[in-house]
Amino acid sequence: METKANRANLKNLGDIPGLSDSLSPEKRLEIFRKMCLVRSFEKEVIKAYDAGSIKCPIYLSIGQEAVSAAVSAFFPSDLIFAQHRCHSVYLAFGGDQGKLIDELLGRESGCSRGRGGSPGLQDEKIGMIGHHGLIGENVPLAVGAALGDKSKKVACFFGDGAAEEDYVFTSMGFAVTHKLPVFFVCEDNNLAVLTEKAERRSWDLVAAAKAIGLPAVDISDDPWLISYHVKQLASNLPAFINCRTSRHHWHTGTGVDSAPEWDRLEIVKEQFLAAGLGKEIEEIENQTKESADQLWRKHLEKQ
């Protein structure tokens, strides 16, 4: 049974040795940069929230950055549907950072004019459709959008809790029936607020997805592994990847209960060091930190 205590093993789920070597250093560094962008940006979110500058509830992606970083690198999407924990998706796919800051600060200049807040991000330029805050409703909406315009590739992110909403599976099944171009991605952190999966259900998400005819894999949030499977599956949509990942903070807010099961960013950094790319990743980390710091400072000063 998967529990928080034993799930550290899942950080290697589905491992294929030597996969990182199949990607060019440039591509790997591009994915790493996206991960650092989210981490640096959200460290500034924490500062602003704890200082009282952000007054709306926030849903941090820290710890889960690799999923959207890798998917966005290999699945250029026309439409993107995510749910409440969506900063990482918005940033990895190239959403406007300044508008996200303003959104979190509740300003009219925010990406949803201050009306959507942390869970309700949209950016027409990247095709990201705003979420209203009800988990999993983004799944039938994504499927409907793919039905409405079959020429568009649709990415749909949701969590392991949302997967239990009754309308999620039936929508995935509808996508299979109508062969709709949707890439479903579950960011499986094992938690619905703080209730673990084993307490909520006995069935396996990927087995259930396969049973309704959806090509599906159950893997860790290793970005090279995700990249590999996205490339494999993207040509035969709809498809589904379930990524075991680790949420570092509370469901909402900046609090932390205990050490995370793993930190994918640190694991990836070690891999880069071993590959002799220490200088490059140090530069990326410094750049993203400095950039986030400056951007937040600039926007906070407007208050």
């Binding site: 439409l79 949803s112 004019r113 009306r115 959507g116 309700g120 949209q122 459709i129 705003g130 209203h132 009800l134 409703e137 799944v139 039938p140 909406l141 994504a142 499927v143 409907g144 959008a145 793919a146 039905l147 409405g148 315009d149 568009k152 009754d166 309308y167 999620v168 039936t170 929508s171 099944g173 509808f174 029936t177």
Partner: protein, 311 residues
């Protein structure tokens, strides 16, 4: 030859599908007579699986891509399963994200003949309660065409409360305004027909009634022309097939009272569940009941008695 409401709905839908890149979705569309012969047999109709909740979400998703879906709900009671996507996404999207998500929600009512506890309701009132919707109850071909035109010219979802009992209707329904009327009746949905029958009976008994047909429920467009007859008769009644308590009838009566200062009563479905047996039905107020209520109201008016709010 004039078209029926049924033919009007079918032809509007056909044109939308064949000329506007529209889409029409629902369950069991082709089965049992194409939803009372209101759905066209042409490309663009999508048979949904029997998943009420997800089906509404998928329809809402097609609206995001500009397809302006017609979503068919064969029985109004099913709306409780469908409604989250309409209430929480389609109706809020314009405010939240600056872009409307227009879905044309056809909500069909049927009553009598043992339709029972979950197939006989008229439930448009819950949508009047929610922001972001337009709500109407067209009973004639002309009204349906107007509803469709307004839908196409705006980017909000629209709840269209239909009633199968009116699908054969060809003629438009004009307001009845007569001098020195004793009461002004505001009628909604299928109650418009039972009110017209009741008024004929009342006339024979010397009670004169104005009748104002209410087709748009939200926004509730009460023009001065619609309220002047009430000012003249100084007594009103709103009749609606939906539940009376916290429903359209009470809401409209309150609005009329507030705006005119005259007493307006509400008459809708009773506050009880419905059984399948004929004597357990809870339908649109029937003409005899409307007659009884109006006679009592008019009697109280002239005796200057305080009005009893319990029928």
């Amino acid at each position: 030859m004039e078209k029926t409401l049924r033919e009007t709905i079918r032809e509007i839908s056909r044109k939308h599908l064949t000329e506007n890149n529209g889409i029409l979705m629902g369950q069991c569309l082709s089965a049992v007579g194409w939803v009372d012969n209101t759905v066209p047999d042409c490309a663009g109709t999508v048979e949904l699986p029997m998943t009420d909740v997800a089906g509404a979400g998928i329809a809402t998703g097609t609206a995001i891509t500009g397809r302006r879906p017609i979503f068919v709900i064969r029985f109004q009671d099913f709306i409780f399963l469908n409604s989250s996507f309409f209430i929480n996404y389609a109706a809020k999207a314009k405010y939240l994200f600056g872009k409307g998500v227009p879905v044309f929600i056809r909500l069909l009512a049927k009553e009598g003949k043992g339709t029972g506890p979950v197939h006989s309701g008229v439930l448009h009132s819950i949508f009047m309660h929610m922001p972001g919707f337009k709500v109407c109850a067209p009973m004639t071909p002309g009204e349906y065409e107007e509803a469709w035109k307004v839908f196409m010219e705006n980017d909000e979802p629209m709840l269209v409360s239909e009633h199968r009992g009116s699908f054969g209707q060809k003629e438009e329904l004009a307001n009845i305004i007569i001098p020195d009327a004793d009461i002004t009746i505001y009628a909604i949905s299928m109650a418009r027909f039972s009110v017209l029958e009741a008024v004929k009976s009342l006339e024979k008994e010397g009670i004169k009634c104005n009748v104002i047909h209410l087709f748009w429920l939200k926004p509730l467009a009460l023009s001065e022309q619609m309220m002047d007859p009430l000012r003249q008769s100084q007594l009103g009644l709103v009749v609606d097939p939906d539940f009376e308590i916290a429903g359209a009838s009470q809401s409209v009566a309150y609005e009329l009272m507030t705006r005119t200062g005259f007493s307006v009563r509400a008459l809708g479905a009773e506050d009880r569940s419905v059984g399948t047996a004929e004597n357990q039905e809870n339908t649109t107020p029937k003409p005899d009941k409307i007659v009884k209520v109006i006679k009592e109201l008019v009697r109280q008016k002239y005796e200057k008695k305080s009005i009893n709010y319990h029928w």
